[in-house]
Subunit: 356 residues, 2 copies
């Protein structure tokens, strides 16, 4: 008898090699990242009319719990191929987790700089467990990025922030998967904007699939910054960016120009949402069973904002990228929820508390 | 041009329907769980000889971060099909996270009982965010289980602990995937044993694939309890089980008899490992880039213990189930790692600290 055939996914470098810079097979450093599910939004209460199809690209199911793995497999593999023994990055958390994990996997050392007290607990635990040398900077991401750039120029260590060109190459594979899973390119693609690499990468992926004739249309790229950390929307770098969405707390994005280009070429927008709107969307997603980190919810918050402006038509297909898993930031989840109740292990008391 | 074809995985009920109890399609509650990767162990230093092939079934990449999703999609879908409006469970954390998420997805209420102060932070955040009614019991898992069993008999609420028969049906699909990914059944399958449902479910899955002619051999089932919480090994329930591996801190397992049967029928063993051995394996996995929760590492700790006894032969294929993602328990990760260093955002100081 023939059972459902499933196969072991080979990671984005081996699965999409015809679309990516070549890597020698014995240099490939992979944790079988990618192939994340596209999950349907079911109802969201009365928020959206039924003619609208909204899908969540749930990138939290990558090995280290965020989309960063797609770019990190490329960057660390190329570093290994080129004979590098160490990688370095600045990070709001997800990049450092991915860098630490892939460096460990590939037998390289990892050095990460993070803003002290400003990265979510889960992410810190990852960099530490994977054996990276972690330096907490008494400053913000933008300051840390300046330092790691200089260090990588002075010492034999490969920079794996998204200015490393291989990072965005890997990240564009998420757009390929969206097209493959839907069978076509969506009408709109919504995503959070922090360092602005991901909107750049997705746009590149969508364009390449269209150029090669895999798809015959392109989505409008819809990027959303957090209000307290919205340099592109405001038109100037933000010196002290602030938002609860720590993953996008970035005041001077590396891919600023390319993000604007993605918006312009696709006929999309780059806009912003407030922390309240982000937390509202974050809770809404959890009530549909999908737990993401707060920054991820900026994409759905963007959909809600645009829906109020009436831009969508019946039959439109909308994809929201959820960049990281909710487990990355348990503290914000707990602060956003009702407190548990405590009881003695006694049937009558429990029944009463449960409200039966 | 033809691009690599990837498709959107449909979740275990729809993918393996010929092997599972029937569910009406409009009752299926899914987050597209399953299809988790099988990741090769690369070296583990000098621990293992090269002829041994060890694979990690990385169940932390299910939607809620643990293998429990496979059973919960079945249990909640059947509850919905039967007209139930609420589910209840006792949990050391992973079950409550899955119950809360799938109940939210299906539009059912969830009630969860957890041992106070004894579940990992990530898991607590999940139950809370997904809107479950959470009661922390001043007692242990075993006491909580007795209470929820009684509540489910007295009130209209479906019990979704693993004594719910649909749970293990869903969980057996992990064995199907292992066989599909390898192309054959492994020689040995190692896994942690807590409530003993998973070893029971895997064994059922392996047997069904062989009966239907998909595979032509069966693995030896190798279950490992934690030393301070090892009722099956010691031959009697443990009143106050203790271990750092909170997910398997269970003194009176529901599937005790079936676990022993799986061991006996397969010619395997049920043994135990110490907390030190668990933490050693936990760190070793992270140094290969794979972050799991402490309980998960009991499987690899078991492999190390058996390797010392010399039971493996050249060419043996060993699969270890890693039951949950490391992000479930950030506190244990941080306690098990070197502390980060703190520095002013100044190039010279950072270079010095990094040791260049």
């Amino acid at each position: 008898m023939q059972a459902t055939k499933t196969r072991n996914w080979n990671g984005v470098i081996r699965e999409f090699q015809e679309f990516l810079p070549k890597v020698k097979d014995d240099s490939v450093v992979t944790l079988r990242e990618g192939n994340t599910p596209l999950i349907e939004v079911l109802t969201m209460g009365e928020l959206f009319e039924r003619g609208l199809k909204i899908f969540l690209k749930y990138e939290g199911l990558n090995p280290t719990g965020s989309f960063k793995d797609r770019g990190m497999t490329m960057a660390v593999s190329k570093a290994k191929e080129e004979g590098s023994h160490a990688v370095i990055c600045a990070s709001t958390g997800n990049t450092s987790a991915a860098a630490a994990a892939y460096a460990a996997r590939g037998g390289l050392r990892a050095y990460v700089l993070i803003p002290e007290g400003k990265i979510a607990l889960g992410k810190l635990s990852q960099a530490m467990m994977h054996g990276a040398k972690v330096v907490q900077i008494q400053g913000n991401f933008d300051e840390a990025l300046i330092i790691v750039k200089e260090v990588s120029m002075m010492y034999p260590v490969t920079l794996v922030n998204s200015i490393n060109p291989y990072r965005l190459e890997g990240q564009k594979t998420a757009a390929f998967e969206v097209c493959n899973h839907l069978g076509f390119a969506p009408t709109y693609h919504f995503l959070p904007v922090g360092n602005a690499g991901n909107i750049t990468a997705y746009w590149r992926g969508y364009k390449e699939f269209k150029e090669r004739g895999v798809t015959d249309s392109l989505p409008k790229m819809m990027g959303f910054e957090a209000e307290g950390s919205a340099p592109i929307v405001r038109g100037h770098p933000i010196k002290n960016p602030e938002t609860i969405a720590s993953a996008i707390r970035i005041g001077n994005p590396s891919s600023w120009e390319n993000a604007v280009k993605a918006k312009d070429e696709s006929g999309g927008i780059i806009d912003m949402v407030s922390d309240d709107e982000i937390i509202y969307a974050y809770k809404l997603l959890a009530r549909e069973g999908v737990f993401c980190e707060p920054a991820s919810a900026a994409s759905l918050a963007g959909v809600i904002k645009m829906h109020k402006k009436g831009i969508f038509k019946n039959g439109d297909t909308i994809v929201c990228t959820l960049t990281g898993h909710g487990l990355k930031d348990p503290d914000t989840a707990i602060k956003s929820s009702d407190k548990p109740i405590t009881a003695e292990p006694e049937l009558g008391k429990v029944v009463e508390l449960l409200g039966f």
